[in-house]
Symmetry: C2
Subunit: 231 residues, 2 copies
């Protein structure tokens, strides 16, 4: 028999769940893990786990990211989404509140399942909506993708999907993949180059087939003014 109260406060477990997004061959992908434990054994879910007694929510998100995706904070940008606490969102007897995070990274490596996961893979986000994810993870995923889409409009967050040096056409493919719509290369270049603090010239160029592209690094600005608007 599990006690429901240890003190004057109702007892909760607190979890973090991660919406880890990256671009692979020009498509937006999310990291999914196959659950290796009950409940929802064998079902696909967002990576995540319980917060420990001695770590902050942020620390827990970073730890799960390392455990379940092999990623460090140097690789990614992490931002809290919101918390989910419906009474029946977890079938276990404990109340479980989950704090969801959005995690963005550039060209992240193939995952090796770690922690509690039986398997892990990158899934195109437009295919993920067809998968019956565990818990309320479908809603969390939708919120995470929508947050990423919205933040590309008025912040410089798109650079989180890019390597340290990148070209304007490369940055444009990020916007196109996340927003799911094609953008005019001329208008796009004009706008991002005009936004002060967004891109700084790295003084180098790409090589490869076609005309070399000028390379940039992320500038110091975090807000985009004026914003780039979706269609």
């Amino acid at each position: 028999m599990i006690p429901v109260f240890t003190s004057e406060f109702p007892v909760f477990a607190v979890a973090v769940d991660l919406v880890v997004l990256t671009l692979r061959s020009g498509r937006l992908h999310v990291l999914l893990v196959e659950r290796g434990e009950e409940p929802y054994l064998g079902r696909w879910a967002l990576p995540g786990g319980f917060v420990r007694a001695d770590e902050s929510l942020t620390d827990a998100a970073h730890r799960e990211l390392a455990e379940e995706a092999g990623l460090t904070s140097d690789d990614v940008v992490l931002e809290q989404l919101r918390s989910y606490g419906g009474v029946t969102r977890d079938p276990r007897p404990e109340r479980v509140v989950s704090v969801a995070w959005m995690v963005l990274g550039a060209d992240l490596p193939d995952p090796r399942p770690g922690g509690d996961a039986a398997d892990a893979r990158w899934c195109p986000v437009d295919e993920a909506s067809g998968i019956d994810l565990a818990f309320d993870h479908a809603a969390i995923l939708a919120d995470g993708v929508e947050r990423a889409r919205a933040k590309l409009e008025y912040t410089t967050l798109a650079t989180a999907f890019c390597p340290s040096e990148f070209s304007v056409p490369q940055l444009r493919t990020v916007y196109e993949a996340v927003w799911g719509e094609p953008l005019d290369p001329r208008n796009f270049a004009r706008k991002v180059l005009a936004a002060s603090g967004f891109l700084v010239d790295a003084g180098r160029t790409t090589s490869g087939r076609g005309r070399p592209a000028r390379l940039y690094r992320a500038g110091l600005a975090s807000e985009l003014d004026p914003p780039l608007r979706r269609g």
Copy 2:
């Protein structure tokens, strides 16, 4: 001796804290309560309390709103901000994660302290930053105010600060109070009246000193396109 684990999960308490904002005589105010219990006995804090074992986070926010401010969901708009879970944010032995909410209402009544509060009052937001609030409530308050400021730009949320029928100048005072900057009446009227679904003509006018103002109700739109920008 309080057990730290009841099961395989670390034990947390989950609280909700409310940033309740309203306009009083043209200034943005926040609801503060004086704590009637330890910890932080006698200190001003945001209203809030622990989530019960059988209620959702949303239900808990509504319940605390009723208990500590006498407000029902008909009176206000409620939106989750984010969660705060630093290891030392609460001095009690239990880990306490708090889910913060932004609550907006029109001309809310004077509070009568209820629940655990010794006292309660409306405090101008620009004076609240001078008060040494309990826990990490100063940071939560700042986040709540910033969220409200940002959302006035691209949503129709400003109507949450208005009674059911209101004039364009009245709506303008909302924007001016929340943003803390004066707006041009002509440009403001042009923009809000052009935004389809923001305002619908109520077919009535105010009476009082000066030329009567045309009254509007909130329309069905929730997003503002194009957005109104801050200076």
